[in-house]
């Protein structure tokens, strides 16, 4: 549904990536994989580079989610021309918090010297950024708050075993090593009238998981169950490949219907960022002939909750006026359809 009551604008976005870009040859070298494996990644995944919050040689974690999210938040606030004091509510989405408690959102708030305001953290996947924006928009729309800092990110260090024998891993675990990357992003939303900043015309998230098995499972272990045989991370990539394009198409159609917009009205499309190969397929299927595609996954890898923020950062840097942008994200653990629409009108 469109956020009603107050006009909400996206006034800044920022992102952070750890370490240098790692190409597939670097991964192949670390894991002792050969040219065939690199060709397979290039052909069926398509990711050129990704960033990892760990040292690929030693496996030592170098950055935390809170480190990256704090850097992204600072960049977003800078671009918005605001400071931490202006933030009166925070919402963060992640599937991979550094610790379950304290939550990452509160660690980030602490580092930014934000206190005395409400903060929320969502346990979320590839729809997490839209979910966080949806929550923030509802809070801003209520009139209780003026400026929201929305964050999202993931760090897969604890799942990334640099000593793994990729040749011996089952397929549902193998893909995780090449698909994902670490990163965080942030956006600042406000009800202030900021000319030139795109207006959030619609945001929607919807659970679509009834009777559907999870497409992705992330487990966490404690002292009593740490020796469980179940893999900490696995995915049903076949189900993802089949379902995500159809779910994405539904979201795009519904957003257009809600807003009364035509396909040709869309100048920018921010499609789901599973992998470059999947994103290309979905973008073709969504069929927005005049839209410029805004994607990041070929360079960042799939950064989960951070993806949309990378896309928003690129969009805000490029968005002309007038222009309309549509974003779609699908979460495939228990299947969440999500999307949002932004507009810059001719007068600003």
């Amino acid at each position: 549904m469109p956020p009603v009551g107050r006009t909400i604008r996206v006034v800044g976005a920022g992102t952070a990536l750890p370490g240098p870009p790692l190409d597939t040859a670097a991964l192949a070298g670390r894991f002792g994989m050969d040219g065939l494996w690199r060709q397979w990644v290039d052909t069926f995944i398509g990711t050129r580079t990704r960033h990892l919050a760990l040292d690929l040689e030693t496996g030592e974690q170098r950055q935390t989610l809170a480190d990256l999210a704090t850097a992204a938040a600072r960049a977003a606030l800078d671009r918005a021309g605001l400071s931490a004091e202006d933030v009166d509510v925070l919402v963060l989405g992640t599937a991979t918090p550094d610790t379950l408690m304290p939550t990452a959102v509160n660690v980030v708030a602490d580092r930014l010297r934000i206190d005395g305001v409400p903060s929320f953290q969502l346990q979320s996947g590839c729809s997490g950024a839209v979910q966080a924006i949806d929550v923030a928009a509802a809070l801003l729309g209520s009139g209780r708050y003026r400026t929201a800092l929305v964050l999202g990110g993931d760090v897969i260090a604890k799942h990334y075993d640099v000593t793994a024998d990729l040749g011996a891993l089952p397929p549902d675990e193998l893909v995780n090593y090449v698909l994902f990357g670490d990163g965080a992003g942030a956006a600042v939303l406000t009800t202030d009238d900021v000319p030139g900043a795109p207006v959030l015309r619609a945001v929607r998230t919807r659970l679509s998981g009834l009777d559907r098995e999870p497409g992705q499972t992330l487990r966490w272990y404690g002292l009593a169950d740490r020796h469980k045989a179940e893999p900490p991370a696995s995915e049903d990539y076949k189900a993802i490949e089949e379902l995500v394009p159809a779910l994405a198409e539904e979201v795009a159609e519904e957003l257009l219907d809600d807003l009364g917009w035509d396909r040709d009205d869309i100048s920018y499309l921010l499609p789901p960022q599973l992998s470059p190969v999947m994103t290309d397929k979905i973008t073709s299927r969504l069929a927005f002939p005049l839209a410029k595609e805004v994607s990041c996954v070929a360079d960042t890898g799939n950064t989960g909750n951070a993806l949309l923020f990378f896309q928003l950062e690129a969009l805000l840097a490029d968005m002309a006026a007038p222009a309309r942008a549509l974003a779609v994200a699908i979460e495939s653990s228990k299947w969440i359809q999500s999307g949002l629409a932004l507009e810059r009108s001719a007068d600003g």
């Binding site: 065939l36 494996w37 052909t43 040749g167 193998l174 990539y237």
Partner: protein, 76 residues
Amino acid sequence: MAETPPDWFVEILRDELDIDVTADDLTRSLDELPGWDSVKLLTLLVALERHTGATLSLPDLLEARTLAAVHETATR
């Protein structure tokens, strides 16, 4: 028409890919093979490299449309 692959090839499919193939499956189009996908292809090719000691090239193998043709290309 590709030659019938040897038993060790069928064993790799069964033991490492968890695919029980019939003789017909070996010459069936990969698109029609239940459970077949690009990740299975990679697993098979990695296993073939290990078994044969040869270095394989993916572009050549993408031309193969059946398991028998994959075997023939990989062991050529």
